[in-house]
Subunit: 131 residues, 6 copies
Amino acid sequence: MALVTLIEYADASAEVRSVYDDIMKTRKVDWVNNFWKALAHDPVLLRRTWQQVKEVMAPGALDPLVKEMVYIAVSATNGCEYCTYSHTASARKQGMSDAMLMELMAVVGLANATNRLTNGLRVEVDERFRS
Amino acid sequence: MALVTLIEYADASAEVRSVYDDIMKTRKVDWVNNFWKALAHDPVLLRRTWQQVKEVMAPGALDPLVKEMVYIAVSATNGCEYCTYSHTASARKQGMSDAMLMELMAVVGLANATNRLTNGLRVEVDERFRS
Amino acid sequence: MALVTLIEYADASAEVRSVYDDIMKTRKVDWVNNFWKALAHDPVLLRRTWQQVKEVMAPGALDPLVKEMVYIAVSATNGCEYCTYSHTASARKQGMSDAMLMELMAVVGLANATNRLTNGLRVEVDERFRS
Amino acid sequence: MALVTLIEYADASAEVRSVYDDIMKTRKVDWVNNFWKALAHDPVLLRRTWQQVKEVMAPGALDPLVKEMVYIAVSATNGCEYCTYSHTASARKQGMSDAMLMELMAVVGLANATNRLTNGLRVEVDERFRS
Amino acid sequence: MALVTLIEYADASAEVRSVYDDIMKTRKVDWVNNFWKALAHDPVLLRRTWQQVKEVMAPGALDPLVKEMVYIAVSATNGCEYCTYSHTASARKQGMSDAMLMELMAVVGLANATNRLTNGLRVEVDERFRS
Amino acid sequence: MALVTLIEYADASAEVRSVYDDIMKTRKVDWVNNFWKALAHDPVLLRRTWQQVKEVMAPGALDPLVKEMVYIAVSATNGCEYCTYSHTASARKQGMSDAMLMELMAVVGLANATNRLTNGLRVEVDERFRS
């Protein structure tokens, strides 16, 4: 069990339901995933987080699928199980193939390795990079 | 000063120089950045790391610029100063604009936030995501 | 199964039992949670860790409930499942409501986001903050 | 130098200035710290982040000073230099003494230690904590 | 279920099988653990990762058991469940006792604590350490 | 400047001086590094932390030099600049060569990479590892 109960649609306030409705409408699905049902304990946090996800993940200077893959990269780095499942599902719906996922993981693994080689040896930033 | 001295081209062994030469040739530049000069204390580690960077960051199922931005996302999440400088420089050379960098940061910030909301509340993975 | 067996009271040495007894007496409960049963493989580590928890989490310049919430914030940031469960239980016993937990999570999420915006953009510390 | 230039008030657009004005008015100060000057490259991100900080850090179920200390705890855990400086300054303005800061650090250190003892030994969550 | 299916020997390509064979031969076992079966979706990544593990974990300036314990320390710090299980199993095969594991955890816990005390208080590096 | 002033021997209380004296005597040096001068703002935290370092880093089931290298591995993973400098200095005094440091870093880099490959693909722990 999660650390707070999940608030189902049937038990939700009108305020919470309006966010759930917007999630389903925006994503063209008929269900809401557990993350939002946990956040619903704080309707303001729920609304703000959903609003932020909707804005940040929308098409812009970057492609939505690229954004989903960046999300997966961060979640894998932080070891967030829920987030790797939910954003991999989302990326697949947007066209990420297994080959793309594997290549993404290769970059994530490499970056995590060289981050530590650099931090462990305290390599100084080249002046050319700073200017 | 870094925790190991940096090995300059003039002082490098033939083995190390051949890696430095390949770095400069591949990147079409006439200098080698500090990261490699620190790794050069272990020529096997130097060669393997460079080989891996060359292979993983090459065009494949993902675009090289997307890979650089994933690298930045991981480095920002881990707080690696050197890596954010070097990979931002590299991404800019490949066409990343300030608008793209800012949008990338917005995704990185959001993912780091929701990773903790999920981990802190121990939200259970929806069965639909697992199947 | 954990990576070491859990040492139950019945199987514990006198040294370990005296720590278990102190845990139960201090917390006014009749059981010991798994964390201590794992640490019991090293009675010195067990005693030192318990002593430290008792001292650090006691009332002082900060309120014990504030300390528990700080503990949850760190555990959510690090993604430690066990610690979020055990310290949320402890904080609730000391009066943390669901509203307080949700508000705590909002701060934790926000801090994790802005930590990366700052680290990713390498924002320089204002001189006013350093003096 | 940061990875993006800092946008000073004199060079800012009307949209950015209105956020800067609100920051100074809300905090009753006559300057804006570097974090916001970096975010200003993306006025939407700037406004959203400031709005979120204002809402999340306001008095609510938790005291604003408690929230600042939670922010410091997360920032110390993530190793964000900028954030530890800026939020320690903010907490001090709200009354945090050196004794409170040291006690906060003692909790942060302890939590980071036991998080790893638990994760490293893979201690199973007690059933009593889950129910 | 993992985010990719596990590729069993019977279903593997000749390229993948040759890596599986080398893993079993090198480790003198008759099975391959799940990590490799997941990586097998990208035969190049599989081969490169295995090659790297074989080289890096071999006897050299450091003892193989010391290397396994360093691996456990990193995995506990990052909270990687799979890695703590697999590398603890490997370290035990090479002679790590429960007493050694507990002592290792004591160091890991302590380092994680003092890392945050130092980062949280922003202690400046002593000049003597830099020279 | 650190977030608290450093307390020099000349300005220290008798309680703090007795810890400084023990540090210098134990390490056979005539100076105290900055970490302890920052902790000295809380003499109880100072004494407890020093006592813990003395006990945990002493010879036991593991060799002191192995422990120092584990400390470096954790500090590199967490990106703690101070800790990498101080523990590398300490390890070198105990005989760590550049070759050993580079090999240590190769393990740290590899572990950080595979931790993410595993967490990102959510590879399930093999039953054989759990029993």
